[in-house]
């Protein structure tokens, strides 16, 4: 673990793996140090911003004992998905399997929101299985709201229409982000997600 400088109000904790990030983030959010404003996990890092001093924050960050089995601690939600995405066949080719096997693999295991970013409520979900899906050669200028997608080791759901380079495998009607709702974001780091096959549209 390395602690890197990030201005007058933040420190960046760098870890070796995404699992370590989840374990560290879980422990840190369970008992956040005094004066902490934001704790932002990402693929290999956790950024912590504070309204207090950096020395005290640095000491507190070094004292964190990462949680074990962080994948299994968040609450679980089920998301019905219609698997009719435009890139489903391309993904099957990459994985060297049939389209229905892609769906089986995607629905067959639990996913965990590792971190959020890109746009409000966009979660980067990981599973214990190995996914390694290249992004599309050229990103789409418009990906529809609710599109369920894969890229790299991650799965995600587009919270609103936006440009995007992930491979689209399906769609869900569940609102992933709704600014009128409390909480607005369905995905938060640590939340567990199971995708359920809602049948062909």
């Amino acid at each position: 673990m390395r602690i890197l400088p990030s201005g007058d109000h933040a420190l960046l904790v760098e870890l070796d793996t995404l699992d370590q990030v989840l374990g560290y983030y879980t422990a840190l959010t369970a008992s956040p140090p005094a004066d902490v404003i934001d704790i932002v996990p990402a693929a290999r890092t956790v950024m912590v911003t504070t309204s207090g001093g950096l020395d005290a924050l640095s000491r507190a960050l070094r004292a964190v004992t990462p949680a074990d089995g962080a994948h299994a601690v968040g609450d679980l939600i089920e998301l019905p998905v219609t698997y009719d995405g435009e890139d489903l066949e391309d993904v099957a080719l990459v994985l060297d399997c049939s389209v229905s096997e892609v769906v089986q693999r995607h629905t067959g295991e639990e996913w965990t929101v590792a971190f959020c970013g890109f746009s409000p409520g966009f979660g980067y979900l990981t599973s214990s299985a190995t996914w390694d899906i290249p992004r599309r050669q050229s990103p789409r200028t418009k990906v529809p709201t609710g599109a369920v997608a894969l890229a790299g080791e991650f799965s995600g759901v587009y919270p609103r229409e936006s440009p995007g380079g992930w491979q689209l495998i399906g769609r869900t009607d569940v609102k992933i982000f709704d600014q009128e709702r409390d909480p607005a974001a369905l995905f938060h780091p640590g939340r567990r997600v199971r995708f359920v096959d809602a049948g062909r549209g």
Binding site: P5, D8, H9, A43, G117, F118, P120, A184
Partner: protein, 277 residues
């Protein structure tokens, strides 16, 4: 209800407050006023509570009509034609016209009671990156003014300097990815005079100059970034993150502005020279 009506907006006028604090882990940017000192001063001058919403005007041009007697204060980039850095009463029916600022870029108009549009996720700020909050102001729009405030301060005029017109020099500290750049690049970074690009906006100040050389190749996994981060994209030209910056970024952050330098950077105009030390 008290209100004011926007007759003209100028290049860009938005509603801003202290932003959506503490929601970064959900991918929700903070947003809020770019020049927080000027925004806070405008609120203080009219006795508003912390966090009341004001209007952020970009390069003047705002024309507004008082639909009732209003107490206002205008701070930040000094626009001719209006009272500056002081509380002022404008009478019902009176029109306030902000000329192009003598120096600086962003001007704040606070009304006693605050702009009272419905908050989104705890803030009335327009976030141009994520699309949260009210849309940018348009001509003809009527804005409600709230009725909760504190006592007026006993101040006639706040003694603040105008944003500088010439070269601006700001202090930086090494960022988390300083080691992605050669020492020669760091020297270039801290000695050359950059020019503010016209592509700058509320997300970031983009700079033109000599590109910086990286000490290593490869891609950075996206990581958390905060206000004042100076990111170096593949072009080698810095981008300083302002209020609407994304929660995470995928390019290495070579340095951060020291805290007091964020507000002056929010006042930089296209073409203005900037140096980091």
């Amino acid at each position: 209800m008290t209100s004011l009506t926007i007759l003209e907006t100028g290049p860009l006028a938005t509603i801003q407050d202290a932003g959506r604090v503490g929601q970064a882990s959900l991918g929700i940017p903070t947003s809020g006023a770019c020049d927080r000192a000027s925004y806070a001063l405008a609120n203080r001058l009219v006795g508003n509570r912390d966090g009341a919403a004001a209007i952020e005007v970009t390069f003047g041009g705002l024309v507004l009509h008082a639909d009732a007697d209003l107490t206002i204060a205008i701070t930040g980039a000094p626009c001719p034609g209006v009272p500056l850095n002081a509380p002022a009463v404008i009478r019902s029916g009176q029109v306030l016209r902000l000329g192009p600022p003598r120096t600086g870029l962003r001007t704040y108009v606070a009304a006693r009671g605050g702009i009272d549009v419905p908050p989104v996720l705890g803030s009335r700020s327009t976030d141009l990156l994520s699309g949260l909050g009210p849309a940018p102001l348009t001509a003809g729009q009527t804005l409600p003014v709230g009725c909760s405030y504190d006592v007026m301060p006993g101040v006639d005029l706040a003694p603040v300097a105008d944003p500088p017109a010439g070269e601006v020099v700001v202090r930086v500290t090494p960022g988390p990815r300083r080691d992605w750049f050669t020492d020669a690049a760091w020297t270039t970074f801290t000695t050359q005079s950059y020019a503010v690009s016209s592509n700058s906006n509320r997300v970031g100040v983009r700079l033109d100059g000599k590109p910086l050389e990286r000490a290593r190749t490869g891609e950075l996994a996206s990581e958390g970034m905060t206000l004042g981060a100076i990111q170096i994209p593949p072009s080698g030209l810095p981008v300083i993150f302002l209020a609407d910056h994304p929660v995470t970024g995928g390019y290495p952050v070579i340095a951060y502005l020291t805290d007091p330098e964020v507000n002056p950077c929010a006042q930089l105009r296209p073409g203005q020279p900037l140096r980091f030390i």
